[in-house]
Symmetry: C2
DNA sequence: CTGAAAGCGCTTACAG
DNA sequence: CTGAAAGCGCTTACAG
């Protein structure tokens, strides 16, 4: 910008006042006469004064900024979450005029050094971390740095930091229970590598529900693939090639479920009739899947706002462990779940196995 | 953070040097002896020194930060673009260690005052504006403020600023030509309010293609609705209720096209057989639509990086008008385009109208 | 090659 | 109620 911004000095000169007086007037100090306060504010408006934030923040010793660590995308389906989350964070921050910085790790290799540098450079007063892996080293690092942070998601031991998560284990218990109630006993799990805690949580829910229902755990029915629609398709093909294929499946995400539907349709089966499929996320575009995808829907909209509020509280001095929020997902029935039929998919199953 | 960050002062004391010397060593000034430069750098690493950016930026008079003006979302389908765009911007900026600030307008009302304050506060050295409306006041404002900016999209007169856009007019010419080549002569346009320039551009392409092909322009075949899947569905229902309905349609976006498919299926018609539908964006989830959506695909991935590079060049002093980049979309045929049949959808069309 | 000085534009005790 | 002083943590001419 070349149109030299008005500084406090210029404003003060214009008013015939001194710089500190003008500063205090603008910041509503009580010891400034109402008359001059008004006069100063009017002049500030007229001249279009806006305080230099670098100077202000250096002076007050706060960056008035929080950072969002952008996750790297493995698949080409961009994350529909990100925009919503950022919007929510922005809403929470705007109440106090804080800024939102988006931080990309150049490579996962040096993400830690980058976090450390960011925290130490005074650019942010706190960080939002998403998609933690098991024993996420970023969490330990932030604790060591004594830099406030909140986690979108959880790790296995999550007592001593702040987080916001949806109960993936509970959701998958609900999903499996629903399928069992529909008569299914061979329910498969389509998942992604278990390094991400959410992948483990949801698998745990799947396994617990099988136990609760007295169903035995068949390792063949657990298929782990890349976290994408293509991964879901590959995993589903593995399942359908089984000598004794499942009649229902729960998928780690809606995106993976979309791949599952593609694999099922490709073999001439009808999802929701021949095989039931339940996704996870409740994304809007599931409505337009073929057929519309039944899913465990989670309340996305509030995550960003809650995380922002939490982080601000912690920066204000709150105990992080006081800010832990677990949301529940709910079953959103569309068209891919249905009662067990002795359907096409089972035709090639041998008599012996059916009797079991 | 409470673990008091190491300052230049501490580092200098630790080394038995003076603050400016340490500063110059770290910044690779030529007049520092190689020996001490190394010594200083090693110590900085060991103590985990990272310069306070507020101080640094105040001193050098640059925020080393650019801002991205986050568009507000009308529909609940979150923008899959945003994450990709931010990632691209981040890549461009990281080369020079600039930061990326995400700026949300509280309401569209005071977006302008907010932009002005942001520009004047020295928080950003430039701004990325997306989704311009016709005669977008933000562009004029940025020019008046002499604050560098780039636009993702264009306005009607776009000679004197920097922008990156995909040629929507050309894309819709291509889409309509394709449908005409398949035998269609009643091609409809499903659009959104024309306040957004991209909505106008694509309508222009539609109209131009009709002319080019010697087809008359039927105002009934232009349906404007809300920019969402629901909007697309409503618009399509209007079209299907016409006495003389279209046999093909082009939709402003993939999202709207998804709504169109839903409306078509709801009447028992088969998209791509009874009515052809072409969307725009080339979003991945179109593959999973029912049936997979034919679309004008655009090269999304590069937009962010290009916009970031452009903005940095302009901040360095380049003439903005030198940075204008128009990409082309290409037809991505999936399953919703097909040859004209005298199909179900035409059954109730009177003989007289068919002869026309 | 290194040090002493000044300044970036704010804020905040401290006087009067 | 307002002014004079000091400081936030850097960078950058200017001496020597």
């Amino acid at each position: 910008m070349s149109g030299k911004p008005v500084s406090l000095k210029i404003l003060a000169a214009h008013l015939g006042l001194t710089v500190p007086t003008v500063s205090r007037a603008l910041n509503n100090y009580a010891d400034i006469s109402p008359a001059t306060r008004e006069r100063v504010k009017r002049a500030a408006d007229e001249l279009g004064y806006s305080p230099n934030q670098n100077a202000r923040r250096l002076s007050i010793g706060s960056s008035e900024t929080i950072g969002y660590l952008m996750p790297r995308f493995s698949s080409s389906i961009a994350q529909p979450f990100v925009a919503q989350l950022l919007q929510g964070l922005g809403e929470a921050l705007s109440k106090r005029n804080w800024d939102l910085l988006v931080i990309h790790a150049d490579s996962s290799k040096d993400e830690l050094t980058q976090i450390e540098r960011t925290a130490r450079s005074g650019r942010v007063g706190g960080l939002v971390i998403s998609r933690p892996i098991k024993n996420d080293p970023r969490i330990r690092l932030m604790q060591d740095l004594k830099c406030p942070f909140v986690v979108h998601g959880r790790t296995a031991s999550c007592d001593d930091y702040a987080w916001y998560d949806v109960d993936g284990e509970d959701a998958f218990v609900t999903a499996v229970n629903h399928l069992v109630a529909l008569g299914h006993s061979r329910v498969a799990f389509v998942g992604a590598p278990l390094q991400y805690q959410f992948a483990q949580d949801r698998l745990n829910g799947y396994q617990r529900a099988l136990q609760d229902n007295g169903l035995s755990l068949d390792q063949d029915l657990i298929q782990i693939a890349e976290f994408s629609d293509d991964g879901g398709e590959i995993a589903t093909n593995m399942l359908l090639d089984l000598p004794n294929p499942p009649t229902a499946m729960v998928c780690l995400s809606d995106t993976m479920a979309l791949g599952a539907l593609a694999a099922i349709r490709a073999r001439g089966f009808v999802p929701g009739v021949d095989i039931s499929v339940i996704g996870y996320d409740g994304l809007k575009f599931g409505e337009h899947a073929n057929p519309p995808l039944t899913t465990m829907a989670q309340p996305q909209a509030h995550a960003g706002r809650r995380l922002g509020d939490m982080l601000l509280s912690i920066i204000d001095g709150d105990d992080p462990s006081k800010h832990q929020e677990l949301q529940r997902a709910h079953l959103l029935r569309r068209k891919t779940d249905g009662p067990l039929h002795v359907a096409k998919v089972l035709n090639h199953v041998s008599e012996r196995e059916k009797i079991q």
